[in-house]
Each structure stands twice: as C-alpha cells, then as structure tokens.
Symmetry: C2
Subunit: 303 residues, 2 copies
Amino acid sequence: MTNKNIGFVGVGRMGANMARRLNSLGFSITALYDVNRAAAEELAMDLGTFTCSSLAEVTAAAEVIFTVVPDDAAQLSIFAEPTAGGDTLLTSDAQGKIFINCATLSPSTHREVEQRAEEAGAQTLEACMASSINQALEGTLYLMCSGKKAVFDSVQEVLLPLSDGGKLLSYIGETGQAAQLKALVNMVMNINTAGLAEGLGLAAALRLDLQTVMKVFSQTGANSRVLATDGEDMVNRDHACFFSAAHAAKDSGIALQLAKEQGLDLPLAAATKAQYDKLAALGFGQLDKSAIAELTFPGRGKA
Amino acid sequence: MTNKNIGFVGVGRMGANMARRLNSLGFSITALYDVNRAAAEELAMDLGTFTCSSLAEVTAAAEVIFTVVPDDAAQLSIFAEPTAGGDTLLTSDAQGKIFINCATLSPSTHREVEQRAEEAGAQTLEACMASSINQALEGTLYLMCSGKKAVFDSVQEVLLPLSDGGKLLSYIGETGQAAQLKALVNMVMNINTAGLAEGLGLAAALRLDLQTVMKVFSQTGANSRVLATDGEDMVNRDHACFFSAAHAAKDSGIALQLAKEQGLDLPLAAATKAQYDKLAALGFGQLDKSAIAELTFPGRGKA
C-alpha cells in the first residue's frame, strides 16, 4: 500500500465509491472536494477525513489526486491555467504531484490537461472507466489507462485495488488513446445492442418463443455480451437505466466524429446513432440503452 | 441406438460426414443417394453399404431418411408429387417413414414438403444446422428442429449422437420456425460482424494496438462470439471461407424479407446487407464473412 496522501476532486457516486474503496483498505484519503460542498462533507464524515474549500487546498493536501468530474468543461476548469487567476489544481504545490483523470472526456481535453499539468511540474494519467457505481465500491472497475508508461507504473499501488488486483487494468498508449478506445467499445456495444433489438423484435413478430430464441442466440454466432445484459430487459421492457440511450447516442457520435476525421465510412455505427437519436427524439433518452427495442418490437413504438 | 434403417439423400460434405458419424456408432446406413453418383459410391465403399440408383429405392430401403440438399429447388424436386410421374421419395413405400430435412431452406418450402409427405403417409422433421463440416463428423452439430413434437421425440435416438448427446439440440416449434430462427441467428451474427469490422477498422485508423483493442473488446460490452471467431482474421486479412460473404448477404436478405412481411423496419440489418452486397459487387462474395473488414480498414478496399 502507498503511504502517499490521496485526494479526490468530484465525489459524485463514482468518485465517492472509489474513495470509500481505497479508504476501506487503509489508504490515507486526505482531501475531498466537490462543487456540491454538502456531498463532500457527507463523505468526509463517513471516511473520517477533511473537505477542502478550494482546489488549491487539495493540491496542497494530497500527492495522488483523482479527478472524477462530469465533462470536458469541468475538467478544463479545475485544471485552469494558473495565470488565469482563479482557483485551480495547478498551483505551485502541484510540483511532483500526480493527477489520475477518470472522467469521460474527449481525447483532446486529456491532451490539453496533460500539457498544462506538465507546465506546472505535475504528471497526469488518463484512467477511462468502463464500469459503474457498484464496481467502484467493490474495487472491480474496468480501467483503461493512457499517458506516460512511467506514470502508469508509478501509481500501480492505487490502481490495483480499484481494478480487481489489476485483472481489469489495461495500459492503452499515449494520452487520449484510452478515451478513443472507450468510444470504440461503446460504438461496438451500441451496434450489437441495436442489432439484438432487431433480432428479438423480428422473433417476436414471427411469434417465436423468445426464451428459446435467446438460448439459441447464446449458443451460436449471434451471441454477445449485450445479449446477456440486455436481452431479457428488451423482452420484458425493463429499461431502468444503467447506461442511458442518450449516452449511447453521444458515444456513437464521438466515434463517428473520429471516423470522419480519419476519412472512414461506418454505416452500421451511423444507423445505430440514428436509432438512438430517434429514441431520444421520442423522449426516451433517459431510459437504458435496452430501450432501443421499443423501436423494433411489433406494437411498441412507445416506451 | 435405433434398429431402424437409415438413408441419406445428398452426401456432399455435410451429409457424408453425418452418415460417417452415425455409421461409426453402429447405426445401420442402408441407402445413399446423390445426383453426383460417384460421391455416393465413394461413401458407400467407405461405409460398406449401398448406393441407390433412384429416390424411390431410398424410400424402399430405409425408415429414417436424412435429406441434405443444396436449396429449395432441389428439396421440392426430391419430394416431387407422386402424380408428377418422375422419380421421388414420395412413393407408396413412404407410408410410415420419417424424413429429417437438414438443408437450409425457406420456411415455405419446409411447410410444402411437410404437406406433401403427409399426403403420402410419411412424416417430416425440419432440422436446421448452424454448424459446419467438422461438427458433422464429430457429432457436435447445432440442430434447431421444427415440426410435430411427436416426430421430434420419435427420432431422438438419431438426433442425440449428432448433437453432442442433445446438448446442442433444440425444439423450436412448428414447421418453418427453425428456418426462421436460423435466418435470425445469421442476421444478428452478420450485424455483429459488420459492427466489429467498423470498430477494428477505426481502431486501426487511430493507430491503436489491435491486440490490446481486441482484449479490451473481449472484456467489455463490445464482446461477441464473432470477436472470437473473426477478430484475428479481420486484422490479419485471413478470409479463408467458413461462411461466405455471399451466404451472409443471402441470409440477411431472408431475414429482411421476413421483417418486411411483418411490417418491421430494421435499419441495422439493412445496412449490414448493403455492406455484404457491396463486398460481393467488388468480387469478394466467396471470401469468408470476415472480409467485410476490407471495407472498413484504412487503405484496404480490395481484398
């Protein structure tokens, strides 16, 4: 275990559970910060630690700092250039510190943040997560990391207990590549999901027994991870949200933008994004991605 | 084991290996027929049994008869109405016989053949196969059966040794439904294959390490059976044919026709068929379905 002090910026459900996990193993969590001050204080009570009233305090109080914020704008804000004059993580205390950035961000934001941090004498690691809240608490996050290999190696002690002892930990390549790969994972997952919804929807229209159909799919070339995670939900119209349709549309859009920049034509990804956009236009963007089946089963069309 | 005499009509690579499998277990193969007489005679030598010079002889010489012919036209021809005057399986000897039809046929052909056979006092079982030549020889065929449940039950003794003791055997429903389900399996498989080709193609364009990408896909929501069967082949451009691109286009077309009849719009299946049609138009229809990656990897476009 590291004897380095650990901080968290952004203690929503993911960040809070990652902090709980590390705390339960005896790591020293010395700084918590969130724009929602109440959330940070509640977590600090639970963990017996302290909240910080500014980003500058976090940098001063911790050596390895996880950032788990909602989007690119928030990430660029917490890593504001020190010359801008506002509160920022990049104070003179940043020298020698390591920032592990877990938010879902564009590759270009990851690169920009890395550059700003290096100018302040700090280092960064991109740690893309392909998992959810429960996995954070259990320490079984799927973590795809990018950045300098030496930085990745230097923080193994905090990454291993979050990723099932490293079984779910991968080093992908240079900064930005983990975000690219995450977009690819979700693009392929979304295609498989939309395809499964078509297969099950047509099976329903043909009055085939859907349990038999799912069993046969699972034993043949039609098998996929989304069959296991979403098949029953599509049949039962149980669209409680684990990964929203709006999120699916967004991630497929990121991948399509990358493809466009590369001059590639990806008709399946495009058809999938169109389906998810259609679902969102019907007002169902906050349902789980399995709700795509509402577009393909006979007699549905509304969720 | 059955003491019934078994016949085979159509001893191409699939039919011949099924006959070899049953013969090796001691079943009594008493009739072999193929329009390619030499193929039938060669197999008869191997098995120590007899060829028949007409379909009528097969019906006379066997009680359970497997048919493994190439297409709907061939199937309708071997089950010609007795009143038509030509050679047919449906002679007066057909009374009480059981025909197990393993060809990949349209649901309507399966229903037509069942009706003709019943008029001749015989019974039929549709046994759709979702496997290949090696599985036939090893007795590990994936068999989806449709027809009357009583007929299915009555031929368990010959189906079990072909389907890993029944582990790979399913009863689907009424005649025609197994063919429908097979079209659905292949439709979903083709979508997943075309989607995987897009994911790996974009990964290649982004210069991500493709072995790492496939490992991450396999551990996340992007995982699928086709990742295991076709991923490496897409990367390595190894398109030796197990399931041809032309076959993929045909099966997706069957499923889309079924969807049209049901009034369903399936954009992913349509986009997939368009990709396979495009591949065939480029002259690569006889390559394996993995060749779809030739359309999505940067700098390819020709196989």
